[in-house]
């Protein structure tokens, strides 16, 4: 049976409800909260600060270091084992790479900017929520960056092209493809593109086109949240 109506009643190109806020962690140099549906991400930025271990310093520019972490109670019942695992390490790496494209740390050689992304609740799309929160937190910390980064997933669920899959859709029977995507809104450059599952070339084109509008909306929300703090 084809997937003609989404399980939670959304339109195919409609995202879940988004909330965003900055300055949520007072101790940090910059922080942000980003919630999409039942996926919540907090990001805190510390730095630029002295970089240890010294062997990892870069004398030409500062280093960006992201850490993605799902909290033990964040899953849907099963306890998530705390600490770094293969998946978290990979997501930390792709998050760093997708943010590196906008961040300019040439003013602070040998230093490091630490980004901590914590997820108290997850319902698919956590790396995208993490990237959105992290890019807001970086901007909030006064880091020089050419733009914020907006991210969302797209894909197909049993033959239908959709935007922003939730966990039930990811676990749907039949062919499912899940494509997290991050973009620099001002230039349209893509800084993250991964895929799980199977999709045809035409469907991929359609899915990517479908995300453009939601990504612009997310960028708007991010900018608004950043300004909100200085009202």
């Amino acid at each position: 049976m084809a997937y003609t109506k989404r399980l939670d009643g959304r339109k195919f190109d409609e995202t879940r409800k988004i909330e965003a806020k900055t300055g949520v962690i007072k101790n940090a140099d910059g922080s942000a909260f980003f919630k999409i549906g039942k996926t919540t991400a907090y990001a805190a930025v510390y730095g630029p600060k002295e970089h240890f271990p010294r062997s990892q310093q870069d004398p030409t520019k500062g280093v960006l270091r992201c850490n993605y972490n799902m909290m033990p109670f964040s899953g849907t019942g099963e306890r998530v084992r705390p600490g770094p695992n293969r998946r978290a390490k990979e997501i930390s790496m792709v998050t760093t790479n997708s943010l590196k494209a906008v961040v300019d740390l040439s003013d602070c050689p040998n230093a490091v900017v630490d980004v901590f992304i914590e997820l108290p609740e997850t319902d698919a799309g956590s790396r995208c929520a993490g990237i959105c929160a992290a890019s807001m937190a970086l901007a909030d910390a006064g880091i020089k960056m050419k733009d914020v980064v907006s991210a969302i997933a797209c894909g197909i669920v049993d033959g239908s092209v959709v935007v922003d899959l939730d966990y039930l859709e990811e676990a749907h029977e039949g062919d499912v493809a899940d494509i997290p995507l991050a973009m620099i809104p001002s230039t349209g450059e893509i800084t993250l593109l991964q895929m799980d599952g199977k999709i045809s070339r035409d469907e991929l084109d359609e899915a990517l086109k479908m995300t453009l509008e939601p990504l612009r909306k997310i960028a708007e929300i991010q900018r608004k949240a950043l300004k909100e703090r200085f009202k």
Binding site: E50, D107, C108, D140, G142, K144, M145, K146, I184, F230
Partner: protein, 289 residues
């Protein structure tokens, strides 16, 4: 024809388009992409003729030459000290920059500046790799032996000082506290305990509202409302503090000279006032919002 899309003093975030066309010039916090000028920092937009720049609202301190800052001694080196300036890079205070007095070879450096002590000093040099040279030679530069230290964001410092030091002198007058504001966001306060707390509260208020217009009036109102009248002991204590330091003066050589040359102390104390003014006038341009 160039088109300006935003207004002066607007809050702006990275990636926002400020102007189109080639009529405007990007400066600090902005960059050109094609024929557009975009922001790359969060802050307030400042339009100065054709030049578009951003006054930062967030971010850690980056060392700059000639900045007067407050630092903490974190290590004692073979001939100098390592100072933490609340930034990603530590500064070095070489022996010859520490004092006008002669320091004997092999002298115990911890007698001059001990670990964890706070010092008011000046940044004399910053290299491309942000290695910092520091100096405590100069009027108004000294070791801080009592009082309180608080930290604020370095981007709020120009507002705390105010135009020509108006804000900080208003706080000083109302509370009777001595206040030194380092460009790196470390502030030293000394006075009556209750007044010190009022000073801290005021500074925190300025920090929170640093992006708003008409802050001076707001602070004045706040101070008028919360003013604590001076007691006799305020003046007495200030007198006491001004009295010459006890015998365990850190500078090794001055100890023997001290009794015969009481003037030594004086020019230092006398030169304090104009210096603070100098510091204020220096930050004048930065203080503008």
């Amino acid at each position: 024809m160039g088109k300006l899309l935003l207004q002066d003093k607007d809050v702006i975030v990275p990636g926002e388009v400020i102007a189109e066309g080639m009529d405007y010039l990007p400066s600090f916090g902005t960059y050109r992409e094609g024929d557009k000028i975009l922001a790359n920092k969060i802050g307030l937009l400042s339009i100065d003729g054709k030049v578009l720049k951003i006054i930062s609202l967030a971010g850690r301190y980056l060392p700059k030459r000639n900045d007067v800052v407050i630092g903490k001694v974190i290590d004692i080196l073979i001939s100098g000290w390592r100072i933490d300036l609340n930034t990603a890079y530590s500064a070095v205070l070489p022996l010859q920059e520490a004092s006008f007095d002669y320091i004997q070879k092999g002298a115990d450096l911890s007698k001059i500046f001990a670990l964890d002590e706070y010092i008011v000093g000046k940044i004399t040099r910053v290299t491309s790799q942000n290695l910092i040279d520091f100096s405590t030679k100069g009027p108004g530069l000294r070791k801080l032996s009592s009082g309180r230290i608080i930290k604020v964001s370095s981007t709020k410092v120009p507002r705390i000082i105010g135009k020509q030091g108006s804000m900080v002198s208003m706080i000083k007058e109302t509370t009777g506290c001595k206040v030194t504001v380092g460009q790196n966001g470390i502030i030293w306060i000394e006075g009556e305990p209750a007044q010190e707390i009022l000073t801290i509260k005021t500074i925190r208020m300025i920090e929170e509202n640093a992006h708003k217009v008409g802050l001076t009036d707001q602070v004045k109102k706040f101070l008028d409302k919360n003013k604590i009248p001076f007691t006799e002991s305020t003046f007495k204590k200030n007198e006491e503090r001004r009295a010459p330091a006890p015998k365990d003066k850190p500078f090794v050589r001055t100890e023997s000279k001290n009794d015969s040359e009481p003037q030594k102390e004086k020019p230092f104390a006398a030169s304090k006032k104009p210096v603070e003014k100098k510091e204020d006038s220096k930050t004048e341009e930065k203080g503008e919002q």
